[in-house]
């Protein structure tokens, strides 16, 4: 079945450092979504990427979708303590297939 691999599993950074999490799929994806889950909270939708090679930005967050639509990344510039949480990618192979979540990257930011 479809698998979505996400690395690293954990990342500890000093406040102000950059952070990147990577997502790879075993199959070509129709779209990929990113979610953030704060400690003790629930996953919250951040963004969806659909087009090959697409790049989207949200303030300090940059999301990329690979040319082959099999990988994606989330990059945070100059992390802040408010960025703490687990970041999940989630992809689907077509509109009717379930969204498959990666195992998440847990980000800790040391002030």
């Amino acid at each position: 079945g479809q698998q979505v691999m996400q690395i690293p599993q954990y990342q500890h950074v000093q406040e102000g450092e950059d952070f990147t999490t990577y997502c790879n799929s075993s199959t070509t994806l129709s779209n990929i979504q990113w979610y953030k889950q704060r400690p003790g909270g629930h996953p919250v939708f951040l963004i969806q990427l659909v087009k090959s090679g697409e790049v989207k930005k949200q303030k300090r967050l940059t999301f990329q979708f690979g040319e082959a639509k099999k990988n994606s990344s989330l990059h945070i510039t100059a992390t802040q303590t408010t960025d703490v949480g687990t970041y999940f990618c989630a992809g689907r192979t077509s509109g009717n297939t379930p969204l498959v979540f990666g195992k998440g990257t847990r980000l800790s930011v040391i002030a």
Binding site: N31, G41, H42, P43, F45, Q48, G95, P98, K103, G104
Partner: protein
């Protein structure tokens, strides 16, 4: 108003008991889901309902039975609870189609003793 709500927020129970978790969404979505998140934070889909009909049923023990009385509700009943059922259970909803952003409820933390 809360978009996706779940009750209870916490559930502590003994092995062998039967329990239910309720979920309601007021977003007008026609698809609802149940996810299980274990202690390692892995998020795994259990069930998906579209317009009250089951469309996804992942490899889940048949002790778990979802019920959707209408489009806005999806409840999860668990029979004969086991220690391994301890986890956080999230309900979510979305519109149908390819751009179906999922909106998650606050979660129900189930602890089986």
């Amino acid at each position: 108003d809360t978009a996706v709500s779940q009750t209870p927020k916490y559930l502590v129970t003994q092995m062998g008991n039967d329990k239910s978790i309720k979920c309601e969404q007021n977003l007008g979505h026609d698809t609802m889901y149940w996810y299980k998140q274990d202690s390692k934070k892995f998020l795994k889909i259990m069930f998906s309902y579209n317009n009250k009909e089951l469309i996804i049923n992942e490899t889940v023990p048949n002790r778990f039975s979802p019920k959707s009385p209408d489009k806005a509700h999806l409840n999860l009943h668990i029979n004969s609870l086991e220690l391994g059922d301890s986890a956080v259970y999230f309900c979510a909803s979305s519109r149908s189609g390819t751009s179906n952003t999922q909106y998650f409820g606050p979660g129900t933390r189930l602890t089986v003793l």
